[in-house]
């Protein structure tokens, strides 16, 4: 029963991993490049909202979340401008390294804001629980789940129901052909970075809120987790990122009931299993070109 409980908690919290994974996957989808600064930009957004909350403690929690989303979205645009816009497409190493530079910079900003230690973050509904038979559900986890699902549905609506979404998918499929149809690569890419940034900021704020703590060590941890989710789900696949996020969340919490120390090691072994048995990821098409 402990295990079932843990797995349910894991799935609920795993939605934040899924959001981060979607962000990585979206950017990879349109640019075919890795944005290593993405997770730290998300956490930096959450820290911006923390600063806002510390300045104005009367701020309601939903507004704090919005600040985080907006901040991370803006950071996404800055990352696009500084790490992708002006570096030639032919130098994939340069963009990778530039995002590493951005990661180090944002990490430093976070360290500076947080004073090098975890900071209190406003919780959504502290200590509220629902009992469902033998299960004991934390309401804030349920809220995290609900908000994430809404955010994902909104994203899918944007991708499949708006002109911007059509442009994004066209660029992901065939950048040159998309350009020939009059789609501006520059604007589409920038929009993708902002959208993924917003999702990441939301995820960062929810991670902080459900623990009521925002750790300064999160950027690196979340980068690793996000990349794992992206690869397990299949590069460029949004449903894959969602499923993989839930899977990794559940797996983590499940292992935690056995041993906290072995948790991260087991997650790494999980990714090895996937890389060997299903290198394309859950939903991805194996594209050996990069």
């Amino acid at each position: 029963m402990v295990l079932v409980q843990a797995i349910i908690d894991g799935i609920l919290v795993g939605t934040t991993y899924a959001l981060i994974g979607i962000g990585f996957t979206l950017i990879f989808g349109v640019m075919h490049k890795l944005n290593l600064a993405y997770a730290s930009a998300s956490i930096a957004g959450a820290f911006l909202s923390l600063v806002a909350w510390q300045q104005f403690p009367w701020l309601p929690v939903p507004l704090v979340f919005l600040v985080a989303a907006a901040g991370a979205g803006a950071l996404g645009y800055v990352i696009y401008l500084t790490c992708f816009r002006f570096i030639p497409l032919k130098s994939p190493l340069a963009t990778l390294m530039a995002t590493v530079g951005m990661l180090i910079f944002l990490d430093e900003v976070v360290t500076h804001i947080s004073d090098g230690k975890a900071q209190n973050f406003p919780g959504m509904v502290p200590d509220e629980r629902w009992t469902l038979g033998p299960l004991d559900l934390r309401v804030d986890y349920l809220l995290v789940f609900a908000i994430s699902v809404i955010a994902m549905l909104l994203l899918l609506a944007v991708l499949y129901r708006t002109r911007l979404g059509i442009a994004t998918r066209a660029v992901a499929q065939q950048p040159v052909a998309a350009q020939l149809c009059g789609i501006s690569l520059d604007r589409t890419n920038a929009a993708t970075f902002v959208i993924s940034g917003v999702l990441g900021g939301l995820a960062g704020a929810m991670i902080g809120s459900s623990a009521e703590l925002l750790s300064n060590l999160l950027p690196l941890q979340l980068t690793v987790k996000g990349l794992i989710v992206t690869v397990i789900g299949g590069l460029g696949s949004i449903p894959g990122a969602i499923v993989a996020g839930l899977l990794v969340g559940a797996f983590e919490k499940g292992i935690e009931t056995w041993s906290v120390l072995a948790r991260d090691l087991c997650v790494m072994l999980l990714i090895f299993v996937f890389l060997v048995a299903k290198p394309a990821g859950i939903f991805g098409k194996l594209n050996v070109r990069d």
């Binding site: 570096i87 190493l93 530039a98 690869v231 090691l265 790494m268 990714i271 090895f272």
Partner: protein, 324 residues
């Protein structure tokens, strides 16, 4: 003076770490596992000298062999992937190795003291140099002996057929394959060479710091390893050395001092007070670190010393041909 020797030790081992990634990057692969091979080398060498009383040279050789073997072993499955997938696969490998050391407990009683790796606490008391009374300068010289040897070897490799093959794979795998190059063999060899170099670097690192911990061998060190050659450029081994000198010597060590001196000079010359600058010198350093990497990559996407610069220098020093 001792401080400068200490700094030169750091620069030395970081150069070796960067060179280990340099070999792998030449074949177009981004490996985030270099820190893991570095860590394996550190632990193996430290155990050889501290637990079993081996000579340091034997320990370094042992570290190189074990790291190279691990790299080759890991290389076979990992090299099924390219680009991004490889980045993540090697990162996972690196983290798995780090987690292994986090849980690795193997202590032996030496006299009334227990020595050896102790899980999260790390491996203390690696006193080889200390017990034999080596001075900091001697240790620095010993390290640079290895740096020079490895650089010379890689420089020679670059100019030989091996280097041409590695670069061919890095530039265009399909073209390389169609002229009969065995991709897997080349990539696994590059991985193994990189692993051996990283192992030696780790062995030296373990002995000059005397205390190693699993934390150090994580993603951050792995990122530094690939950062040096990418920043310095893949045109030649000297790019990596220059990048390490710039990052470790200037950015990390020299910059705060530089800011303080510059603002003192400005105060004396211009009669302004720049106390804020002086007080926040190390903060400015921390913030400008990432931004400078960003700026360099925008300015020179192929690194500071790229192939063109190398060719230019080559022409400068080449013997004049009568036709020119």
């Amino acid at each position: 003076m001792d401080y400068l020797y200490g700094l030169s030790q750091t620069i030395g081992v970081h150069t070796i770490l960067g060179l280990s990634a340099y070999v792998v990057l030449q074949t177009g692969q981004v490996s985030l596992a270099q820190a893991a091979f570095y860590g394996v080398g550190a632990y193996v060498a430290a155990m050889l000298t501290t637990l079993w009383g081996q000579n340091i040279v034997v320990a370094i050789a042992g570290a190189a062999v074990v790291s190279a073997a691990l790299a080759a072993l890991a290389g076979f499955p990992a090299l099924r992937f390219k680009g991004l997938m490889l980045v993540v696969a090697t990162m996972a490998l690196g983290e798995a190795v780090r987690e292994f050391f986090f849980n690795f407990d193997f202590q032996i009683a030496k006299g009334n003291l227990k020595v050896g790796p102790a899980g999260a606490e790390g491996f203390r008391q690696i006193r080889y140099f200390f017990d034999r009374g080596w001075t900091t300068g001697e240790v620095a010289g010993f390290i640079w002996l290895f740096v020079a040897g490895i650089m010379a070897l890689l420089w020679w490799m670059d100019r030989s057929r091996i280097g041409a093959v590695l670069r061919a794979v890095g530039e265009d795998e399909l073209a390389a394959q169609s002229v009969g190059i065995n991709l897997t063999a080349v990539k696994v060899s590059a991985f193994a060479i990189g692993g051996a170099v990283a192992g030696m670097g780790g062995a030296l690192y373990a002995h000059y710091t005397t205390h190693i911990e699993h934390n150090y061998f994580g993603v951050l060190t792995a990122t530094f390893a690939i950062a040096y050659p990418i920043l310095g450029g893949l045109g030649g081994v000297f790019g990596t050395l220059i990048a390490v000198l710039f990052v470790q010597g200037f950015l990390i060590y020299g910059l705060p001092d530089f800011i303080v001196r510059l603002s003192t000079l400005a105060e004396n010359e211009l009669g302004v007070t720049l106390d804020w600058l002086k007080q926040h010198a190390s903060d400015i350093r921390n913030f400008s670190f990432g931004l400078l990497i960003l700026a360099i990559m925008n300015w020179r996407p192929r690194g500071v010393i790229d192939e063109r610069v190398v060719r230019l220098f080559g022409r400068l020093f080449a013997p004049r041909s009568p036709h020119a």
